[in-house]
């Protein structure tokens, strides 16, 4: 935990209190308890989302699993994870950070989601993030997350199974993301996370083949920011539950775009590559600097204002 003076940038999502609105996004340094702890202590994140965890251990796709492009990162890690059983120790260590721990999970049926969620809650997570949007793991991602009926049923089943807040993370690869967010709200979900990566590919001309071993990966980083901001804006017009904005956030201004579009908090993933592990501190400071210069004293004053003007 870090203390930031001057402006008040505290926020809260479904009862989770955050000292600043920046969270670690799922899949970045979120596989071990100690790296999560470090992102909070040394990095300054206001909350931590774990790597997406499944029922069994998975090694993920082979290498190359990620590369940097001119406008972002492209990855197809393939949801590697040690399985929910082995993850208890990691959650326990992460809890020492004293910031909210959000356990991300993936599964291929509502019951598996519910099962994972209750075990994640049992491990000590403060909230659950449902990954309904992995763009490159067959059977676990966009197929489910683009159908409002399936989304509502997954959310409902999980919400009924546990006592902690449930967030659903959505894919932008749909014609109307707000209608999926509405399904989350109808299912009793406590928040929406938007957006996950976009399906993309990079071909190396000299080799005449795709670089990623999985061929197709998920595009993150600066390239997807305008899509994420738009998604949050559209969702904010349609639902009342809190929104967590994610996609291409590198600076305080990027975070503010999301906040003004309607996000109560933001997540940062690829930015850890671009600006280092302390990007959470840097972005928090830049948000405060902006607020000071533009006469805002509370983060709340900025949330969603681009949607009402």
């Amino acid at each position: 935990m870090i203390t930031l003076d001057n402006m008040n940038i505290e926020t809260s999502i479904a009862g989770l209190k955050m000292e600043n609105p920046t969270m670690l996004a799922s899949g970045i340094l979120g596989q071990t308890g100690r790296s999560l702890l470090r992102v909070a202590k040394e990095g300054g994140a206001g909350a931590l989302v774990t790597k997406s965890i499944g029922l069994e251990a998975r090694t993920g796709h082979g290498n190359p699993g990620i590369l940097e492009l001119d406008t972002g990162l492209l990855n197809a890690m393939g949801l590697p994870n040690p399985g929910i059983d082995d993850f208890e120790e990691e959650v326990q260590i992460a809890r020492r950070s004293n910031v909210p721990i959000i356990g991300s999970i993936f599964a291929s049926s509502p019951d598996d989601f519910a099962n994972l969620a209750s075990r994640m809650a049992g491990h000590g997570a403060d909230a659950i993030e449902l990954n309904l949007s992995c763009p490159h793991a067959q059977g676990y991602g966009v197929e489910m997350g683009s159908d409002p009926i399936i989304v509502e049923s997954i959310v409902k089943t999980v919400v009924e199974a546990i006592q902690i807040p449930v967030f659903a993370k959505l894919s932008p690869m749909v014609p109307d993301i707000a209608s999926i967010a509405l399904a989350v709200e109808k299912g009793g979900g406590h928040g929406v996370v938007a957006i996950n990566t976009m399906r993309g590919m990079s071909i190396e001309p000299e080799m005449g083949m795709p670089v990623l071993s999985n061929k197709i990966g998920g595009l993150s980083g600066p390239a997807i920011k305008p899509v994420g901001v738009r998604a949050v804006y559209e969702i904010a017009q349609k639902v009342k539950i809190p929104i967590i904005g994610v996609g291409g956030i590198n600076t305080g201004r990027d975070a503010i775009e999301y906040i003004m579009a309607g996000a109560n908090a933001v997540q940062i993933g690829s930015g850890v590559h671009y600006r280092g592990i302390d990007i959470f501190k840097k972005v928090s400071q830049e948000i405060q600097d902006f607020m000071q210069k533009n006469n805002y004293s509370q983060l709340d004053e900025m949330i969603g204002i681009a949607g009402v003007k």
């Binding site: 090694t59 290498n63 399985g83 590198n250 590559h273």
Partner: protein
Amino acid sequence: MGHHHQNAKMHAVTILANRPEAANIFTLEIDWIPRDKLLGGQFVMIWIPGVDEIPMSLSSANTTSTLTIQKVGEASETLGRMKPGDKIGIKGPFGKGFEPTGQNLLFIAGGVGIAPLMPAIVTAQEQGKEITLAIGAASGDAIAFRDKLTSMGIDIRIATDDGSEGHKGFVTTLVEELLAGGNYDQILTCGPEIMMAKLLELANLNKIPIQCSLERYMKCGMGICGSCDIDGLQVCKDGPVFDGQTLAGLEDFGKSKRDRSGKKIGF
């Protein structure tokens, strides 16, 4: 962005030469050099199209660069069959390298661990430092860079598993002798983690600063996937070279690592 990050873009590079280096070890010369001056220990991710992508130290970087590779599995063996003109992908360089300090340096290599030490040895010699190099290998013919090191006039001490050359047994025994006799300002080492854990003990005992280059399973090489985690540090970005002080505070060092799923497993 204002922040200098090690970029992770993929570049297709051409192989210029493939030379045998020692038993089961070969050196690839590639038509590519890193942007900034190389520190030994810094590494690249090498994409072998259709096969795999693996971390590999740069064993030199001047007008071209070299990779010195031991054949252990599919990727390294495929690289071993490559010919001039063939293409591989490269990302990097990544990570923090060795920083030799003091005048009297003891380098300790376990097997192909000599590769990341080479740039540091060359630089140290250019700076007029005194260099002792202890090498542990399976047998005498498995010692890489022998000609180069001899022509540089480096004081080499050898330990082999089969006793075919030098001391028969662990290089650490050799090092104990050296430490008893010599007066070293710093130890720089790369090799099996068990060996390096033992060396850390010896260094602490003798109050000599030590730097060790670690290995973990690497997926991104750029510090974000968490696959190479050791106690919350990322070997690819915070390392692979760590100093003794850091290592002394780590629970996992010499004891456990993570498999490809992130599960903790013992050495």
